[in-house]
């Protein structure tokens, strides 16, 4: 007699979820945290496919978290080469969802969103105009338009223009790359060095921003694409690396910060995860310093505090209506640590040689 094997999730199968951002250096990618949160969700079972760029991303070798990894082409390769690689991976793995986690790759994935949907692969990403509106280059205008506190900035394409900024800015100033990196400069000499360093790494333009003094707060938020915030978790950085990344942080209970994120999700109708980087001044003004269009590396804290944002994104990507969370645990702390993962040269050789592990 045959008996039906019960699957413990409503989708009736193991979901196949591809995740990028598996690096875990001192400025870590969010992928490992996203996977950890997804794996903890009791509502579905999943097979995790890692999508990597380099052979030494630690997530590749975390076989208890990542079932199989495929290398994908760098974002500068464009959408055609990415699509071709995803086609290959999809033929083998039959992907349900892709969750990209790097700023630099999002443009390509957003462009491919409709094609992926036709292939049966869901994403839950912002539209291109939402994605571009919060771009560092446009943040000041975005803030003014929607009445957010944002620092004054100037977009610079030429080193000669950098010398003119002294007319409008007092030192210190913040010199930022278009995707990553920010250096505080106290003089023109330091600003020029920072300009050259960031230009060499991330290209032009360079953003020069007014320095705002205060407490660094990050907010992880998840929008449903219709203007509703499904989850908002504010976190204060307790330990900050020399790259400005949170190495430890604690969840906060501050209605003003939650209202700020709710308003951001509402006015942008943001679809997917995002992180607001906020500087709270001593007189209580929350300046939005940056909006990252994807989950932050500390996203597992949202799950630990009771609002599993990555798992909720998976459900919404599959068309499920998710009710906004109303509560979370305040005073939940994350402390990041480095761990020497040991693997064998054969594994390294396999991913390096075949692009799969």
């Amino acid at each position: 007699m045959l008996t039906r094997t019960e699957t413990k999730n409503k989708y009736g199968r193991k979901l196949v979820i591809a995740v990028t951002g598996l690096n875990a250096i001192d400025s870590p990618g969010p992928g490992v945290s996203v996977i950890r949160a997804i794996r903890e969700c009791p509502d579905f079972e999943c097979r995790i496919i890692g999508l990597s760029y380099e052979s030494l991303e630690p997530g590749l070798y975390m076989h208890d978290l990542v079932d199989k990894t495929y290398q994908i082409p760098y974002p500068m390769g464009g959408t055609d080469s990415l699509m071709s690689r995803l086609n290959y991976i999809h033929e083998i793995e039959n992907l349900d969802i892709i969750i990209p986690n790097f700023d630099a790759e999002l443009f390509n994935f957003i462009k491919l969103r409709d094609k992926l949907k036709l292939m049966g692969i869901s994403t839950f990403l912002p539209d291109l105009d939402q994605f571009e509106a919060r771009d560092k280059i446009k943040l000041f205008n975005f803030g003014k338009e929607h009445d957010f506190f944002v620092p004054e900035d100037k977009i610079i394409y030429d080193m000669r223009d950098l010398r003119k900024i002294e007319e409008n800015f007092d030192y210190p100033i913040v010199v930022k790359g278009k995707f990553y990196d920010a250096i505080i400069a106290h003089s023109m000499e330091q600003a020029e060095k920072a300009f050259q360093k960031i230009q060499a790494k991330w290209g032009l333009p360079i953003i020069v921003q007014e320095f705002i003094k205060g407490t660094e707060i990050n907010i992880a938020a998840l929008g449903d694409g219709k203007g509703t915030a499904i989850s908002i978790i504010p976190m204060r950085k307790l330990y900050i690396t020399d790259k400005g990344k949170a190495w430890a942080g604690v969840t906060l209970d501050d209605d003003a910060l939650i209202d700020l994120a709710r308003k951001f999700i509402h006015v942008t109708k943001w679809r997917g995860g995002c992180e607001l980087e906020v500087m709270l001044t001593t007189d209580g003004k929350p300046y939005i310093m940056e909006v990252n269009p994807r989950f932050p590396a500390w996203i597992y804290l949202t799950a630990a505090a009771g609002q599993n944002q990555p798992a909720s994104l998976v459900k919404m990507a599959l068309g499920e209506e998710v009710e906004p969370f109303t509560e979370y645990e305040v005073g939940k702390i994350f402390i990041r640590y480095a761990w020497d993962l040991i693997t064998d040269i054969r594994e390294f050789q396999k991913i390096s040689g075949t692009g799969e592990l």
């Binding site: 407490t215 204060r236 942080g249 906060l252 209970d253 501050d254 005073g331």
Partner: protein
């Protein structure tokens, strides 16, 4: 003077402000004072209770209490 409603305190003298993320630790007398303030005791009542309980000069303790209250205010523990 009242301790803000959302301030988490422990009997060991650990304080956590969930709005700012700041945490502090105080000694056992500080912890006792905060617990009394949490019970809505006035500064004068706190002074009386502590001076009744311990062998301490009242005017000296009043000065210490003023200083402690100022610190608590500065760190947004008191309303």
């Amino acid at each position: 003077m009242r301790v803000r409603k959302n301030i988490a305190t422990s009997e060991e003298g650990f304080l956590f402000n969930p709005t700012t993320g700041d945490s502090f630790s105080t000694n056992s007398i500080g912890a006792e004072i905060i617990l009394l303030l949490k019970k809505d005791k006035s500064t004068q009542e706190v002074v009386d209770i502590i001076c009744d309980k311990y062998d301490v000069d009242k005017s000296l303790f009043e000065r210490d209490m003023d200083e402690f209250s100022l610190q608590l205010k500065e760190f947004s523990i008191l309303e």
